[in-house]
Structures are given as C-alpha cells and as structure tokens.
Symmetry: C2
Subunit: 328 residues, 2 copies
C-alpha cells in the first residue's frame, strides 16, 4: 500500500486537475470565487447507508448523488465538492482505486470537480468505511426552493417512482424473492439514485417548497408540513410506482400495508415539491424541459401533519415516518 500523500496524488488529485482554486489538492484550503452558494453535507456510513458488499464504485457514486439530490431539490446547480474518507484499517489500494473510478464517472456525468478534503484510515480493526461529502452549488435565480414555503391550496408533486430503493434493499437482504430482472432494477435504484438536477433547476421560481425524498415520502412530506405550518394530504393510489414495485404490491395482496411500506421506505432521492395550482402549466413545462416524469399526488391545506388517504377516503395509518438513527 502506498502512503497517504501518494494515494492522494494517484487517485484524487486527478479528480481536481485543472480546477481553479483546488490547487491540485496540494494546499490546505480551496479558494472558491463565487456568488450565492448553496451548500450541503451528507455522510454515508457502511452498514447504515450502504452495505459492506456494495461495490466501492457504487458507494462513491451514491455518496455524490445523495448530496447532488439535496442541491437538486433546492433548484441549485452543483459545481464542486469536498470529500472526506475514513477507510477501514488495512484497506487495499485496489478498493481506493475502484472508489476513485466511481467518483470520476459521476464527476464527468454531473460536471462537478473535487476541490479538496481529507483521507484517513481507522486504526480499529473492522471499523466501518465512512464517506463525508460537502457539495457546493450556485443557487438558482430565485434563490433556493425552501422546505418552509408550502401554502394552503398548493398541489403536491413527486418526481419518478417511490419505494423502489427500499424494495431493492429488502431484496438484496433476502427478505423476499423477485424475478432477476426486477431484483436488478430495484437494487440499482437502491445503489445508484438519480439526482433530479434538471427538474430542480426548472422548478426554481415555480415551486413554493421542495425536499428530496431520503427519509421516505411520508417522512419528507412531514418535514415540509412542519416547516411550512400546513397539512399535506397524499392520495395513496396516486403515488407513482415502477413496474417491479407494482408487481411486488400486486403479489402482496394487501394494498394498504404495501403502499404504506413503499411510502415510508427511504432512499428514493426523488423530488417532492408543492406549487400553486395556478402554476400547473409551468410545472408541466418544467417536467417536459427536464425530461423528468412528475406526478401530482396530493394537496396542501391549513393544519398540521401528513395524511395518506385511499380513493375511498380511508386514512392509512403510518406508524413511523422514516428511519431514525437515534430512535428507540
């Protein structure tokens, strides 16, 4: 294994090549000349946010994408990131190389660059890989789309499909058996989320509030409801589902408990947002311009909390609205 500085020079400095202000990762800070920035920071921990057996390339890409998703939901345009890694004791250089390869793929895909960071290793045997990313972007022309802006009367929308990642994780953990094609699709949705950057940018100036769905649709709707001081009602049958999720739900034979599970499983990384109903045409155009499917799933009213309601008016009880790392 090479030393720390060799590893940085070999695998990480190339990811910052030619980036003004990154100093080739050879200085203590990055110097960013910029206007109004949007910044986010998300940590991923082995065993918590990804599985030990997940390919390193996927872990790297997911670490970038969950942060990109935060910026997407706020209508911001990412341009660079800082990376902190704590590797397991005795990590093989090939693992770091594979990880850096994943970063490179997504840097090219999302047009972002590495500006700096920190690479270290655990001394404790078996301690988990931990990846910390701080992602920096430029705010949209109307500023960031807040969580706290939902208004009574707003429509509620979500991009893409909901519940795939949770099913993918459960399938990987062997909870149930799916066709190989469905399992592969859902596992991919778990391992490699698609940050909705184009949609987020197009929503800037139109959406009143937005959040990316990481804790689960209901839990994240609750964040908007709480911050905005409103209630959000979501139609259970309106929640967009992928074909594999529909197949799973059909085979389950219990719509209410199935949709409840899909709406409370995390890691979707879709955008949940609200907009005035007078803006339906603009929202439709934002979806078309960004080539990103969206679905109108509910509405905002005065009050508090989130309700998941079936077409015949039954409220589906949702015991717990999302994963909590410290919950009892």
């Amino acid at each position: 294994m090479s030393g720390e500085f060799d590893l940085i020079a070999k695998y990480f400095s190339p990811l910052a090549a030619g980036v003004q202000g990154a100093f080739g990762l050879k200085d203590d800070v990055a110097a960013i000349a910029a206007g109004d920035l949007a910044v986010t920071k998300d940590l991923l921990v082995e065993g918590v946010h990804f599985r030990s057996r997940d390919p390193k390339e996927c872990i790297a890409r997911k670490a970038l994408r969950v942060n990109l998703s935060d910026l997407a939901a706020k209508g911001a345009r990412p341009f660079g990131y800082f990376l902190g890694c704590v590797w397991p004791a005795g990590v093989k250089e090939s693992a770091i190389a594979e990880f850096a390869g994943g970063l490179r793929l997504d840097q090219d895909l999302f047009k972002i660059a590495l500006f700096g960071g920190d690479t270290t290793a655990h001394v404790q045997k078996g301690a988990p890989l931990t990846v910390s990313v701080t992602m920096i972007g430029l705010q949209g022309p109307a500023g960031v789309i807040p969580r706290a802006g939902a208004q009574a009367g707003d429509d509620v929308y979500v991009s893409g499909t909901i519940g795939d990642a949770g099913l993918g994780l459960a399938a990987l953990e062997g909870e149930f058996k799916l066709s190989p094609a469905h399992k592969a699709f859902l596992a991919d949705r778990y391992r490699l989320p698609s940050p909705r950057l184009s949609l987020g940018g197009a929503l800037s100036g139109h959406a009143n509030s937005a959040i990316d769905v990481s804790d689960g649709l209901i839990a994240d709707a609750r964040h908007i409801a709480t911050q905005s001081g409103v209630t959000i009602e979501i139609g259970a049958e309106k929640i967009p589902l992928s074909a594999p999720a529909k197949a799973w739900l059909g085979s389950l034979g219990d719509f209410e408990s199935g949709i409840g599970r899909l709406a409370t499983s995390g890691d979707d990384y879709e955008i949940l947002f609200t907009a005035p109903s007078s803006r339906r045409r603009s929202i439709e155009m934002a979806s078309q311009a960004s080539k990103t499917a969206i679905t109108r799933i509910g509405s905002v009213a005065r009050g508090a909390g989130v309700k998941l309601i079936t077409a015949n008016g039954t409220e589906i009880a949702v015991a717990k609205g999302g994963f909590d790392h410290f919950g009892d």
Copy 2:
C-alpha cells in the same frame, strides 16, 4: 435517547440560530451569499486523531480548531461551518450535549456559526466516533497564502512553540512521567490547539507561502518545499520550545534525537511560513499586531527537500517526516 430530529433541534439548531441562510438547520442546504471563499475539510476519528477518553467538549473544539487552523495558515477569515457526526452505537444523549457545549464555546470565541450538516450513528458496536467539519471563510485581500509560493532567499518562520502536542499525547499515553503542571500544559496543547487566525490575517500580502503544522514541522516544511520547488533549511537550535518541552529535552540528555522528535511530532497547529527578507519589518509588525509570537528558524534556497541542521553544521537525520495513515 431522543430521536435524530429532536437531537438536532435541541443541540444543534441553537448553534445556527439567527444565521442568514442556515434556515435553522431545517432545510437540505445552506445558502451562502458570499464573495471569494476559502474552504477546508478535516475529519477527526476516535483512536486516530483523538483519544477515546478525551472529553467530548474538547473533541468538538479540536474538530473546529484544526479546520480553523487551515484557514488561519491561508490568511482567511472563517465565518461558518458544516458538521457531520457519526456517533457510536448507543451513544448517550449527555455525550451529545457535552459535544454541542464545546461547539458553542468555540463558536462564540471565534465568531463562527453552524450552517448545516448531518448527524447519524453507527450500527456496529464499538465503531469509533467520527467528526467531519467543513469550514468556510473569506479569503484575505491578497487571496489565500499558498503552499507553493516559497522563493529562494525567503526567511522561514514559525509561530508559537513546536512539539508540545506530541509530548502531551505521549505523556497522556504514559510514555514518560512529567510534573503535573508540565503534563497538564502539554496535554492541553494536544487537546485544544490554538488556531493562529489573527497572525494569518496579518500575514496576508506579506508571506510568500504558509501551512499549518499538523503533520509535524519537518513534514509540513517538506510540503512547502515540494510544492514550491525549493529547499528549506531549519536551524535545530532555533526551533521555539515551551518551558515544559525544554525541560523534557534537557532531561533526555540527547539534543539531536530530542529535537528530531519534537520537529516530527504532529498536531502543533502553529503556522509555518516564508517571507522575503526584505519584509522582516512587516512580518515583525504582523506578529505584534496579532499578539502572536513568531520565530525565524531558517531559510529557503534553490534545491529540494528539508534539512534540519545544528549550529555546528551537523545535519540531523529525520527518518520519517510525519504521520501517515496508510504508511507501511
């Protein structure tokens, strides 16, 4: 133990109270309206960068200070930070409260605010506390002081005293016995570095190159030498030492090996910098204005590498110039 969002609301949101663009830590991103920024990110891992028994308050403050030190060395003025914590499984709420108390102390002391971040917990029993900080500041009027700017003919200076933190750690680990007062002084230097922010700001526009001493005086001098394409010669007797370090060195009875150890132990968080000898008056004024002691310890010449030389011309062999997390 409260849940994740309760913990954030109780301990961390108050640290972001009233901060424009931090949204009370209740949104996905922070929005920073700013000019030319300097950004740095350093991770601290239990067992690597701090001891398991260190008070949580100290760990929090050290995590901020090692990042503040990076900005100090670059002449930048910090204004805010992002925090990522991975707590051990089953962490007690009192530990988080104590940690947040440490953050508050140093926020007030250094006039910085929390802008956002991520709080999570290990699922694996015994996995170490990991703290990731991204610190954001404004560049000085002359931009950041680079590592790569040292010129042949420059003087080499260092602030404060060298080797205290390494001795403090060794004393805490029981490697040798010191008087209680000396042990307390050195342990404090290890646990709670003093970022030299005033000095760094005053050096902007005067120093040609700078770095904060985290890997060790010789290792960090080597970073400057390598990035600048020069050689740096340091006078062994000129290295500034605290009274407890002098006492330890005297009791050791072997100046060369003792000073070699002090010059290669890490965690000093002093500023090592170079400046043209024509600027000696300005550098002296920067020291006085910032009330920070500095010592001229060497000079820059054409060539490569770093030499530690005694007054009678002997070169002290330094086997390894700093701690490497991946070294063999």
